[in-house]
Every structure is written in structure tokens, then in C-alpha cells.
Symmetry: C2
């Protein structure tokens, strides 16, 4: 099938990889700063240059590149190829014809996908979701994204804006979420939410090594630091992961009783905590789900790491664009 470029348009970095569509392997990749504050026109010019560079430097003939997929952090209209609202990128991205602009510049088919849906598709094709006709994926990072594969199809209802699993409310009176609603999973299970629990524990003076690990500089507390403390046996840090894992478990329970996937994949930086996070999720699901059969349902960590999105959106383009 040849090669396809997958691009991860991030708030900090613009990353492009040339993906072998037979194996899902990234043959060559380059990353440059996004510099999103310069606005969408310059970012799109930078993307075109980056894609040309990737093709030129990869040693693969341009004619073997079949198309480009771009994973975008925000709300898109995938049918029209427009960006609608990208909360983490400065400048206005409302109704920007990203797909057609890039496609015209490089004379290649281009498709857009939300970044979490890109990761979902990558994990389904070549990662932890492989083989499941119906699967769900949560991407746990600065925000909490989501994706669904239903009956072997990536679920893209409402112009690709559905499957926002991080914005289901698990407590209608809960804390305010960035989306405006209350008690969304994202308000409990994002990296900032986890970090805030660590910060709070230190400020409260609880008996935890988290403070000493960062020389009592709150700015240095990250999910990684809390995870390290927990792995070293710090009880407060373990409680923090139990609390966040419980919230994810409630949301996963909701996904199981409604959509009924046979695999649930946790992706994103926080999922690297592994069983520390997965175990309270599994425990919560076991305690709460009785109406829907959950025997054989697997709740697992993502397998493709940081490349899932690049691989996923390249494969999506391979199968659907042009």
C-alpha cells in the first residue's frame, strides 16, 4: 500500500512521520516547534515545508507517498475538512480549511482527525486495541480525549465531534470543566487534575515524599513525580492514583453499559503509570457494572506510546482518503 505521512499538530511541537501502511512502522520522522502564536497561516506553511522535508530526507520516492493525515487537538468538521475550535492553539482556527490548503499545496489527499481519534485508530490497527470489533480509548493528558471503534469502524458521528469520552459528566454537581459543563471526567482525570491533588497534599503538609522530591517547589510537581513516589511506596501518592483511577473507573463503567466495547485502552502520558492507574479502574468497574456482561472485557494500557497518533492518522488516510 505504500507510505503515508501522519502529522501530530501539537500545542508545542509539530511532528510528522512517514508510516509504512503494511506494518504501521514509522520509517522516518521529524519534529519542529509549532509556534502557534504566529497564527494559522504560518503554521500551515510550516506544515507544508515539514512534509516536504520528511519526504525528501526519508530516502523514499515521493511517488510512493499516498497521502497525509493530520491529527488535530480540538473540534473539527472532518467531512468538510475544517478546524472549528482548537483550545490549546493560540490564534483563531475557526473554520480554517486545513485539509484543502495542505492538499492543494502538496497535491496529495489529506484527511483530518481529532488527535484522540487518531490515537484510537492507531491503537486499534496496530496496538493494544487490535482485534476488538468494538473498543474505546481514553487519552489522558492535558485534557482527556476519547475515541470509539464500533463494529470495526472508527465512530465519527456529528462530523467527527462525538466520542468525546472525557466530557461525559460523572457528577452533575461536580467541579467546573474547561468545556463549561460540570463534573466531566476531564475535571477529575487530566494531568492537571492529578497534579493538583499532589500540590494539595504538599500544601496540606500530609506525610508524603512528593514535596521533598521537588525541593518543595510546587511548579515541579508532575504526574511523573507522583507516579514515582507511588512506585516507591508513598501512601498519599498511591491514594491520589486510586482517586483518579476511581473517576476513570466510573467513566469506563458508563462506557461499558452504554457502548459495550470488549477492550478499553488507556493512552496518553498518565497511562504510563500502568497498573498503578489501571488497577483502581478495573476494581471500580467490577464493583459498579452488573447490568451489562463484562466477562472478558480487557482494560489495558496503550501499546504504541507517543507514535499512536501519527500512525493512526496516517493509516486513516491510507484507508479513507483520495
Amino acid at each position: 500500500m505504500g507510505f503515508f505521512i501522519g502529522c501530530d499538530l501539537g500545542g508545542t511541537n509539530l511532528r510528522a512521520g512517514l508510516v509504512d501502511s503494511d506494518t504501521g512502522e514509522v520509517a522516518y520522522q521529524v519534529s519542529v516547534p509549532t509556534l502557534a502564536r504566529e497564527g494559522h497561516t504560518l503554521v500551515m506553511q510550516r506544515m507544508v515545508a515539514l512534509f516536504r522535508q520528511v519526504i525528501a530526507e526519508s530516502g523514499i520516492e515521493a511517488a510512493q507517498v499516498g497521502g497525509i493525515g493530520i491529527g488535530v487537538p480540538g473540534v473539527l468538521d472532518v467531512e468538510q475538512g475544517l478546524t472549528l475550535f482548537l483550545p490549546n492553539l493560540p490564534g483563531t482556527w475557526r473554520n480554517v480549511a486545513l485539509r484543502d490548503t495542505i492538499s492543494r499545496a502538496l497535491n496529495l489527499p489529506v484527511s483530518l482527525l481529532n488527535d484522540a481519534r487518531s490515537i484510537t485508530f492507531g491503537e486499534w490497527k496496530f496496538g493494544a486495541g487490535k482485534g476488538a470489533a468494538t473498543m474505546a480509548c481514553l487519552t489522558l493528558g492535558t485534557g482527556v480525549g476519547g475515541g470509539l471503534v464500533i463494529n470495526n469502524q472508527l465512530h465519527l458521528e456529528r462530523g467527527g465531534t462525538a466520542a468525546e469520552l472525557g466530557h461525559q459528566s460523572i457528577d452533575f454537581n461536580g467541579p467546573r470543566c474547561g468545556c463549561g459543563a460540570r463534573g466531566c471526567l476531564e475535571a477529575y482525570a487530566s494531568a492537571p487534575a492529578l497534579t493538583a491533588l499532589g500540590v494539595k497534599a504538599v500544601i496540606q503538609g500530609l506525610t508524603t515524599r512528593i514535596g521533598a522530591m521537588v525541593d518543595y517547589d510546587l511548579n515541579k510537581i508532575t504526574p511523573k513525580v507522583i507516579s514515582q513516589a507511588a512506585h516507591e511506596g508513598d501512601e498519599i501518592a498511591m491514594e491520589i492514583f486510586n482517586e483518579v483511577g476511581f473517576a476513570i473507573g466510573v467513566a469506563v463503567s458508563n462506557i461499558l453499559v452504554t457502548v459495550g466495547p470488549s477492550k478499553v485502552v488507556l493512552a496518553g502520558g498518565m497511562a504510563k503509570a500502568g497498573d498503578l492507574l489501571l488497577e483502581p479502574v478495573r476494581k471500580t468497574v467490577k464493583e459498579r457494572v452488573s447490568v451489562t456482561k463484562i466477562e472478558g472485557v480487557e482494560i489495558v494500557q496503550a501499546a504504541l506510546g507517543n507514535n499512536a497518533g501519527v500512525i493512526g492518522v496516517a493509516m486513516w488516510t491510507c484507508e479513507h482518503a483520495g
Copy 2:
């Protein structure tokens, strides 16, 4: 396509209708008491007799009847044709081979569906969900059931036990639900939950006509009484519908951001309250959903009334059995 029998196995009544599969119309129907306390063997014998009676009395030739569908209130394995757990029917129904028992007795193909999924399929084929490739249905009664149609297919994951939309938790610390979890929609939006709010208002001595309407006999308070009071302008009764409608609105918001249906149908006895219930649902959805596009999404009352389940499960059999 001929005629198919649809059966509604209820806690009180066993209802069977002969459905014209071209029009979805019920040509003839009979209802008898279920007498479930006599146990599953006698109930199944009663079903066989009822189906024979329906065919005999309908005036339609037996050869024109293509199969039988049975809508069952509880947890089934639709692939194996077994009942697993029927909370509202006395006697044990664990692993009862309902499908094959009826099929052998009448020498006709038989299929089982959960009762809420039967209503969903009926409303999708011939009712308020017609034309929507992806739709969701909530059945608001003694319990809150659910069903999903996704990409023009009734969604039957996990052996038909998924799409339990009434058992998504909208408050993980909320009131205990019959399923064992906390804060399920069913704990806020079932007929008993609504009734309890009416009872409480009367006990509290709030200024409402609900009490007088039932001669201050709490046993006589029903959703219908509260609905009537609200339609007559009783403010407490209206607040009760707003409160229940808000809870349904949170759940519908969750369904919209995850599954993304273009139609959401409210069915079951409580949905007969119409806009009294629908308006607070729509208002809540507008206030809470921003990440997923909801322009054009319709939130509507069911159209087929008490026949939806009989029609739905007959049509399901028409399209899938034999």
C-alpha cells in the same frame, strides 16, 4: 414479507400482537395475565398457547406467520437465546432457553430482545426515530431502559446487554440504584423516583395540589397525577418535572458527546408528559454540551405508544431470525 408475532413479556401482562411487517401495523392482539409467580415453565406454556390463539383468532393463515419475537424485561444472552436475570419477574429465569423452547413448540423462528431494545427498534423502524442512522432511546418506566441504533444497526454488544442507558452514573456519590451502583439515571428518572418526589412534597406540606388530588392518600400518587397537577399550573409539580428532566438532560448530554445520535427518543409511560419533561431535557443539553456539535439533534417523544415493543421485536424477528 408477511406477518410476525411480537410479544411483550411483562411483569403483569403477557401481550402478543400480529404485526404486518410491511406497515408495522398491529393486525390483531391479545393480552393475558403473566402469572409469573407460577414459574418459567408455566409462563412459557402460557406463551405458546397465547401465540396459537393469536394466529387462530386473527383470521390470518398460519403459513403467513414468519416468526415470533419476544421482548423481555431484563438481561438476556440474545446470541444463545437465554434469559439471564429478569428482576421484575418472580421465579428463577437464570439460563432459561426461552428462544429454543418456544421455537420447538411452534416450529417457527424465535428471537429474543431486551424490552427497551425492542421499543428502540420499533421507534426506529416506524416511529419517532425513523430516518436517523444513529439514534438513542430511553424508556422511562418502573426502571429506565435504553437502546441504541448506530449506523443503521441496533446495537447489541456484549450479547445484547449493552445500551443500558439508564445505568450510566451521573453522580458517582448519588443515591443507590437497584443495579447496585450509585447515581445511575434510573435512580433519578424512573417512575418511582418521580413519584417519590411527589410523595415528599406532600409529606413536607409544600404548597401543592398533589395532596388534595389524591385525598392525601400517598398510595395514589403517580407520575400521571403529578403531570396533571403540573399541567394545571402547580409550581411544585412543575419543579418536580424540571428536576427529573434535568437528570435526563445530563444523561442525554453524555449520550450526545459519546455516541452522537441525531435523534434521542423518550419512551415509556413518563414520556407521555410531553414538553413538560422534554423542555428541561433540551434546556440542560443546550447548557452542557459544547464539545460535540448538536445543531439539528432532535430530542422527541416516542410515537408508537404501548405498541412500540411488540412492533419492534416482531420487526426484529422479520429481519434477523430464521
